[in-house]
Symmetry: C2
Subunit: 364 residues, 2 copies
Amino acid sequence: MHVTLHSSALFSSPFIIVPSQKVPTKMEVKNKYVAIKASINGAPEESDFEIKVENLSLIVEPESKVVVVKNLFVSIDPYQINWMKSQSSSQTSIRYANAITPGEVIDTYGVGRMLVSHRPDFKKDDLEAGFLTWGEYSIVKEGSLLNKLDPSLAFPLSYHVGVLGFSGLAAYGGFFKVCKPKPGEKVLVFAASGSIGHLVGQYAKLLGCYVAGSAGSQEKVNFLKEKLGFDDAFNYKLEANLKSALKRCFPKGIDVYVDNVGGKMLETALSNMNSLGRVAICGVISEYTNASTRASPEMLDIVYKRISIQGFLIADLMTVYADFLSKTVEYLHDGKLKAIEDISQGVESIPSAFIGMFNGDNIG
Amino acid sequence: MHVTLHSSALFSSPFIIVPSQKVPTKMEVKNKYVAIKASINGAPEESDFEIKVENLSLIVEPESKVVVVKNLFVSIDPYQINWMKSQSSSQTSIRYANAITPGEVIDTYGVGRMLVSHRPDFKKDDLEAGFLTWGEYSIVKEGSLLNKLDPSLAFPLSYHVGVLGFSGLAAYGGFFKVCKPKPGEKVLVFAASGSIGHLVGQYAKLLGCYVAGSAGSQEKVNFLKEKLGFDDAFNYKLEANLKSALKRCFPKGIDVYVDNVGGKMLETALSNMNSLGRVAICGVISEYTNASTRASPEMLDIVYKRISIQGFLIADLMTVYADFLSKTVEYLHDGKLKAIEDISQGVESIPSAFIGMFNGDNIG
């Protein structure tokens, strides 16, 4: 899900002097942003976060590669919790990622409008997508991901955060590149109404696969079946036995599973996989806040069914980025793909929206 | 490891009438073989097995595709325990494999000499490798794996069961085909003195990899380092902390792991893998007799390090069989590869040799 910034009357107006490209630009603005008070090692709570206001006062020299972006939409994703953990966490992988310092801004993918730039490739008022922050403004250094948007696409700006952003790329790349699916194969999507899941399911239907998924409410289940064309779906909160639910939805077994849930879901999915099944894992939401829920897969299944499990990150999918973008734009234009968005309003709404993701409150 | 048959004075002489290829062949012989008394659901014990003697009396018609092989060497492998479990076992994968019926012969890979054949492709006294039994004679039906040996190879016959048989193919294919290793990569081998492990380690050294492994005694550790050229090795029975041992042997992390052990070993290896590491799994010995020792990998590691885990069976490796055979024969001829064999004598020795494998008693 994502949040739209600057929609309230409260956002501050920047003071900018831009007399010429040859002299420094002086900028002063109040920037409201979300920070963590301290490292978070369990499930996140409202009290873990604070809304801070800083005086963003800077001078951008003519030769500087630093740009300032006014954030319009920024993404709220469960994986960000991993960057909020302390370095002594048992989950050592976070050392590979950028740990978030308490009190400092929190990085995320987003869309914004260029406010100050001396770079030839970014002009004032250009629209961009890239690494911004959970705040009203972002200072983006050279080398950080930032791409100019194609203004001819004429989609809602928020699409560039979700369906045309990282969620879309994760869904497309995880499904097509990592899992190499074939028409007619059986595809499982957990958290099927989530930002990645609802796209994986639709890509799979467009390829001609059988698709079934889980969601956390009857409303979402109906939505998957009636609006997104899923062949079957179930409410995991009502199923006493996850294995039975999967057997019911997949009487012929599962061939492909794009997982961002982990834990018991992954373990159960693996036990229902067909021979030569493929699992692509880009997240383990159920394990982020409680490492004791780890999956203990039946490895004998993995061997005898020759299953492959592949972890992947967005960075691994850049080779399919152009393909993803052109196909997805085409599907959206033709109305073959529906982008589901759950948008909250304003910086203040970020902590509760983030916390809600771990309870399955969001859709899209 | 494997067993040589017919080496004792006790083996029975078959009575065969072969007047011509056009009339039925009548054969009568006492066949001593190993059977299980009932399904085995924990660690195997001597009392689970019995040595049976049957009167193998059969008439092979001229048009029959059935052949009778006198077994010379047959393989004893941990994975066979999976076929001895009851069908109600929690390890459901065994339903995919051929369950062994109590009292009946037990299938295995082996080398034998043709005794009775009306098939044009197999003549009496030809040497073959394929699916035989834990006994003195095997009745081989059409369609069952059976390949004539190349008599020009001039290796000990037992090599065709191990280094040139399934163990060798599993090691070669698991390493080269599944893991796609590059020179200089760091390769872990658990059970490094085992039938597959000692070959994976040597293939990896021949490719120019760094190789370290574990074994169950100081003698085996010395052997790996001094005779097989391993860069490092440790006795897992003496290590209080497996993770520390791996960190000591792999200060720069593990890139490739061919696993047939599973459980804590797999879990710990995964936590020491480098980014883009590859794990090929062809067995989970530590879980065969105790499903509660399942691995619970840190899936967040799998995601952030983009690790792949791939189960495989011998059947998946047939595309590299010719390559495996020519390369391995060349390495053996040139003395670059050492085949380690642990050979027991006679049908009676099979149960204790099999049981010993689960205690790490074997080498090769």
